[in-house]
Every structure is written in C-alpha cells, then in structure tokens.
C-alpha cells in the first residue's frame, strides 16, 4: 500500500503551551518559556526535559497559550494612569522624626 506523505499536518495541531516553573518551595512560579505539545501531560514532560535539565523545577505549570489573557501594551498609559498620581502609597511620602524607631 502506497501512502501519500502528508505535509506534517499533525504538528499544526499541536497547540502552544506556556510553561511556568517554581524552582524551590516557597517561591512563585516563573514563566520559563513556551513549547508545542499534543496535550497537557506531554507538555509537562516536555517542559521537564526542556526547562529543568539542571534541577530547576519543583513544580511545573503548563497553560495553553490561548488561555493566557494579556493587557494591551498600547493601552499601558491609560490602564495604569490611576496608580501614577497616588504617591501617598509609597512609604517615602511620609515625613516622620528620626527618633522614631522600628518603622
């Protein structure tokens, strides 16, 4: 039986995953990069192989990239505007006497 060699359709169906790794107990998961995999289990195994060759992985999270929602960088100035003029949120705003300890 002669099979027609398909032009690699399967890979186009491997979704893209974002990988987050917690390297040590107590730390946050950090974004390590991305990879293609057929499903979540494969994504985790591949993430282990690609991103934790030097034991930098206590916990691996994988999320399909399409489920990551991001803010729009063009709207950054208007999105964050409310925070910019609230200078009283910073400790340095408050002028307190030097004799005051432990604060």
């Amino acid at each position: 039986m002669i099979c027609e060699k398909k032009h690699d359709m399967p890979e186009q169906q491997w979704p893209l995953w974002e990988v987050f790794i917690r390297s040590k107990q107590g730390l946050d998961h950090k974004h390590a990069g991305s990879l293609h995999a057929a499903d979540a289990q494969m994504a985790i195994e591949n993430a282990r192989d690609v991103y934790t060759r030097r034991m930098e992985g206590v916990s691996i999270w994988v999320v399909e990239s399409k489920y990551v929602h991001a803010s729009n960088p063009d709207e950054a100035s208007s999105l964050y505007d409310p925070a910019n003029d609230k200078v009283y949120r910073h400790p340095t705003f408050y002028d307190l006497p030097d004799e005051l300890k432990h604060m």
């Binding site: 186009q12 057929a38 192989d49 729009n72």
Partner: protein, 315 residues
C-alpha cells in the same frame, strides 16, 4: 489629533534599553531580520548536535559519554528556546523547518566540518562554543525581549560546554605522544573555521549598522573576532599547543594580537553549500524529520485517545 509616531516610539525604547515585546509595534524590517537571525541561530543549534553526536558511541569513557550526551541535549534545548522566541514574531515551526530543509535558511558555517577524532570534541567545546559564547553574551541585552531572555538561559548552560571541551584537550595534552599529536591536529583543523564564525569583515557586512542601531547586534564582527583571538592565544599556551597561524603575534602598540589573513573564499564556499559536510548535515536533518513523522502522528492519536478515555470516565 496627530497620529502617534510608532517609528519614533519604537526607536526611543531601543535607545533607552527598554525591551521590545511580541505585541509591541515594530518596523517590518526589524521583524524580518530578527526572524531570520533567531531562526538561523536555532537551526545552528540543532544542526550543531550532529558533529558531536558522531562521537557519543565512541567516547573513551562512560563519564565522557554521559557528559557529551548532556551537552548535545543542551544544544537541542537551545534550539527549542530559539524556535520558540522566533515563533513570537509570527512565523511557525513548520515554516522554519521547511526553510532549513529546503536550503533557504542558513546555519552557522562551522557545523559543515567533519569531526574526525575524539580530540575534535575538545576543540569544539573550547573554540566553537567559545566563539558562540563571545557572540551570545552581548545578545543577552538585545532589544527584543524573548530573544534576550532565551540568550540568558543559553549562556548559563553554555559555560559548562566550553569548560568540558578545554578539559578534554588538557587531558590529551598531558598524555601520550599520540594523544598530544591528535590534540594539535584537531586544533589545526578547527582554528580558522572558528575564526570565520564571527562572519565577514565589518566593511563587507552591510547589515551591521542597522542591526547595531536596533540593538540586535551589540559589537561588530571584527571586534568580537579580535577579542576571541586575543583570549585563545593565551589559553592555547596552557595546553602547550600552537594555533596554526604563523602571523599570530602580540602587538604592543595595539594591545591586541595581530593575526593572519582569513580565507574568505573557503567561508563563502562553505556557507553556500560546498563545505565538506553540508549535504550530509541537511540529509540527516531531513531524514530525522521524515523518520519521526510517525512519532508526531502517534503522539496526537494518543492524546486523542486519552482525552476520550477521560470523557468516558466523567460521563
């Protein structure tokens, strides 16, 4: 209201060393040149696995075998980081692999040379990875975020590559007459190709100015090459070996090593497909891709099956 000047905002960011990220506006030319640079870098890592894999089955000891496997594994990982970085710019993995297999995309010329002896493993680690590190460290501060971050990860892993290479040569240099000869012979074959890794002279490199303005290149080819030669000229003395360049000499006035003429004909010939191993390298990659098709299809079929099994359990 005046139209926002995207071009100016973009260049301002670069001038202030603010990273450009995938969703930011960027000139088409910037995107195109980065796709080319990053994907070719990725191809180089993957093709670069081939000359070294050649010696895995013949490593002189179990320790050396394990180390070489770890290094080659790292190169695969580096290729993957870079393919992922390139994909953020809107090109697919399939397209990049097609470009490599069709000969449309290039990869580093150095990998078109054969690895003839075990000593070649040492020299590749010392000189080829050494040159790569010298090129890659500045790119850790490249303007495009994903590329720079991939570079940081790569550089962390690359330093063991160079040290294991030099250590191989150190052991050989302190060995038998035959081992010392093998060491010198490998250096003699790989020195000039390594020097050529830094690309054409600055005056023959038309893209350099724009790449430096866009901070995707931080130092010129000739600057990096000079640095590399200066460093290796010192390191080779520790091996008690020589570099195959009769014109290599310390220049007190320049505070650098003078070196001999590079055979640019050889460089051009190799990069255009006529090196000793070009055809073999490409054929190996194409075959690996075709032979692996069933694995990719099976992975998908398996994922489907697993999904259906889980749905049945839920139902």
């Amino acid at each position: 209201m005046p139209l926002p000047d995207f071009e100016k905002t973009f260049q301002d960011k670069i001038d202030e060393d603010i990273r450009i990220e995938p969703k930011d506006w960027m000139p088409d030319a910037y995107r195109k040149t980065l796709i080319r640079q990053i994907s070719q870098h990725a191809h180089s890592e993957i093709v670069g696995m081939l000359p070294e894999s050649n010696w895995i089955t013949r490593a002189p000891s179990l320790k050396r075998k394990a180390i070489l496997i770890a290094k080659v594994q790292d190169e695969a990982g580096h290729g993957l980081y870079l393919y992922s970085a390139a994909e953020t710019m809107g090109i697919s993995r399939e397209e990049m692999i097609d470009q490599l297999h069709s000969g449309k995309a290039k990869y580093s010329s150095i990998f078109n040379y054969p690895t003839l002896t075990w000593a070649d493993m040492g020299v590749i680690g010392w000189l080829v990875d050494g040159a790569a590190i010298m090129n890659q460290v500045p790119i850790c501060r490249a303007s495009y975020g994903p590329y720079a971050r991939a570079m940081v990860r790569i550089c962390k892993e690359e330093s063991f590559h160079q040290r294991q290479g030099f250590e191989i040569l150190l052991v050989l240099s302190r060995g038998t007459e035959a081992q010392r000869r093998m060491c010198q012979d490998a250096i003699d074959r790989w020195w000039w190709p390594s020097v050529m890794m830094f690309g054409p002279n600055d005056d023959a490199s038309p893209h350099t100015a724009q790449s430096m303005k866009w901070k995707i290149k931080r130092f010129s080819n000739d600057d990096l090459r000079q640095r590399f030669i200066d460093v290796c000229a010192q390191q080779v003395k520790i091996l008690g070996m020589t570099l195959p360049d009769p014109d290599l000499a310390w220049n007190e006035e320049r505070q650098h090593y003078d070196f001999g003429a590079i055979d640019w004909e050889e460089f051009r010939s190799v990069i255009n497909g006529n090196g000793p191993c070009n055809k073999e390298r490409l054929a190996a990659r194409v075959q690996a891709h075709e032979d692996g098709a069933w694995v990719r299809e099976a992975a998908l079929a398996h994922a489907e099956k697993r999904k259906m099994r889980q749905q049945k359990v839920v139902a």
